[in-house]
């Protein structure tokens, strides 16, 4: 049993360790050339820190401390391996202290980000690796967050690391001409992590707070690492603006609330201000070719800044969607644009646009949007059919409950089944 002071010390140690772990790991991967070996060594240093720091206090330079211990462990491991394989040289190279400058640490972390989010890895593997190595979650925590059995997650991580080593996925910051494309891939992975937490795909929690927070942390890290990349700025802006509504997104029973039903006084103003500023920064850096994440964040900012749903600047929202379509034309973007048009020009105009979109039959919100617009047009039977189509697809429980309520409102005839 820890006393109060010891507990405080242990918590302090844990926080520092958590913050530094990914940086140490990143440097060790560069130095050793092996994710597995680096993880082993970093883990050893972390355990030692958690043993001695609560007792002796956190050292002045915790990263330096951890790196020295981890390096020593890595050398031991390589020596042991080298004796078997008969090659001592590698271990010696490790003893050469690599530069510990802030730039070197930043570059190491960037290499780790681009390796974990390499397009040759499946999206599932990228998400798992990013949470494990960059965000520093334990395998069990990653498994819980993604609702996957721990053994499955362990296997997925092992396979991903094996592919990095055996297929020769480089540990390197992409060259300038490839950077924008690769960064878009990194952003997609981080957005997926956030979104998986923000709108848990299936199950009974609408918001899986852990993953949303990890997504935000990763987005902040990307801005810290690449403060002039519009994609990084736009991604963080988008996440902050979406997350600013977290407290207002559900009612007291945990049911999801639509934008127009939310109590805007509960939106997080500090997050909105930070998000809007980042949108400005992103727009200034993309005078010619708009960045997809910056534009999505601009749309979120239109909503965040409107004093009420009725006062939403729909003209601006629709214009931003038009811009977004020039760089990111997908059926879902078209659906969201149609919903905005319905608010400005009425449900008939919106429905005409929705019905012209192909390829969304498997997307529940396509049917839910149709249901809503048909209901507003007084076509209750057709609305009920659309809601049923939405309910037949994957939704989390609170969202499904909400649609069932809407279905019931379509009239007694529609609840027969």
């Amino acid at each position: 049993m820890l006393t109060g002071d010891a507990e405080t010390a242990a918590n302090a140690a844990q926080q520092v360790v958590r913050a530094e772990r990914s940086r140490i790991l990143a440097t060790l991967i560069r130095v050793t050339g092996s994710v597995d070996l680096a993880e082993d060594a970093a883990q050893d240093a972390v355990l030692r820190a958690l043993q001695s720091w609560p007792r002796d206090g956190v050292p002045d330079n915790p990263r330096g401390w951890l790196l020295v211990v981890a390096r020593r462990r890595a050398v031991d491991l390589i020596r042991r391996e080298a004796r078997r394989a008969g090659k001592e040289a590698e271990a010696v190279a490790l003893l050469d202290p690599a530069s510990d400058s802030p730039e070197a640490v930043r570059d190491d972390l960037l290499r780790l980000v681009f390796t974990c989010c390499h397009p040759a890895l499946s999206l599932d593997a990228q998400v798992a690796l990013a949470l494990r190595t960059i965000a520093g979650l334990a395998t069990a925590e990653v498994a819980r967050a993604l609702v996957v059995p721990e053994a499955t997650m362990a296997k997925r991580l092992t396979r991903a690391k094996q592919k990095i080593t055996q297929a020769g996925i480089p540990y390197r910051i992409p060259p300038a001409e490839e950077l924008p494309g690769r960064l878009t891939g990194v952003a997609a992975t981080v957005y997926l992590i956030f979104n998986e937490g923000y709108t848990a795909g299936v199950g009974d929690d609408l918001i899986r707070v852990g993953l949303a927070d990890e997504g935000l942390r990763l987005a902040r890290l990307l801005v810290e690492l690449m403060p002039d990349e519009p994609t990084a700025l736009g991604l963080l802006a988008l996440l902050l603006l979406q997350d600013s509504r977290r407290a207002a997104r559900v009612d007291v029973d945990g049911r999801p609330l639509l934008l127009r039903e939310q109590d805007r006084t509960r939106w997080d103003r500090a997050a909105i201000t930070a998000g809007v500023e980042l949108v400005g920064g992103g727009l200034r850096r993309t005078p010619d070719q708009p960045d997809r994440y910056v534009v999505q964040a601009a749309i979120a900012a239109c909503h965040a800044l409107a004093p009420s749903y009725q006062q939403t600047p729909w003209d601006a929202v629709i214009s931003w969607y038009d811009v977004l379509l020039t760089v990111h034309d997908t059926p879902v973007v078209r659906l969201n644009r149609a919903a905005a048009v319905a608010e400005r020009d009425g449900p008939a105009a919106g429905l005409a646009l929705v019905d012209a979109i192909g390829g969304l039959a498997g997307y529940p919100w396509f049917h839910a949007t149709r249901g809503e617009l048909l209901y507003r047009l007084g076509r209750a039977d057709e609305a009920a059919t659309a809601y049923r189509a939405a309910l037949a697809l994957d939704l989390n429980d609170p969202q499904a409950a909400r649609l069932r309520d809407r279905l019931a409102e379509c009239g007694p005839a529609s609840v027969r089944e």
Partner: protein
């Protein structure tokens, strides 16, 4: 430097026939451009010429041969290259210049050094 095998999957054509001359010329062009990393490779005769061999009952057992490729797929294994590249990025960039990449698909696999 790691070695990769690039397996080309395309329509099951006969590379030795005159109709394929244009495409073969494209491959020769690719081969010249990627000379620095290519360590070997060949085009394969069509899958109709393939024989699949199995030995039943363990080593030394009966040799069974079947006419045709191991797997019947819409796109067939029609050739391979051995590439020596700095890393997967270089291998992918190399493979992306093979005609098979737009006429079908190319599978890249690291080779275990023996």
């Amino acid at each position: 430097m790691p070695t990769y095998i690039a397996l080309t999957y395309t329509a099951d054509v006969d590379w030795s026939s005159p109709e394929q001359a244009d495409e073969m010329a494209e491959y020769r062009e690719f081969g010249a451009a990627a000379r620095a990393v290519i360590r070997g490779g060949s085009a394969l005769y069509p899958t109709a010429t393939a024989t699949t061999v199995r030995v039943s009952g363990g080593k030394g057992g009966d040799v069974l041969t079947t006419d045709g490729p191991y797997a019947e797929t819409k796109e067939a294994l029609t050739g391979f290259y051995l590439l020596e590249c700095a890393d997967l990025d270089e291998a992918v960039a190399t493979v992306a210049a093979m005609p098979a990449a737009w006429n079908g698909a190319v599978e890249v696999r690291p080779v275990i050094p023996l």
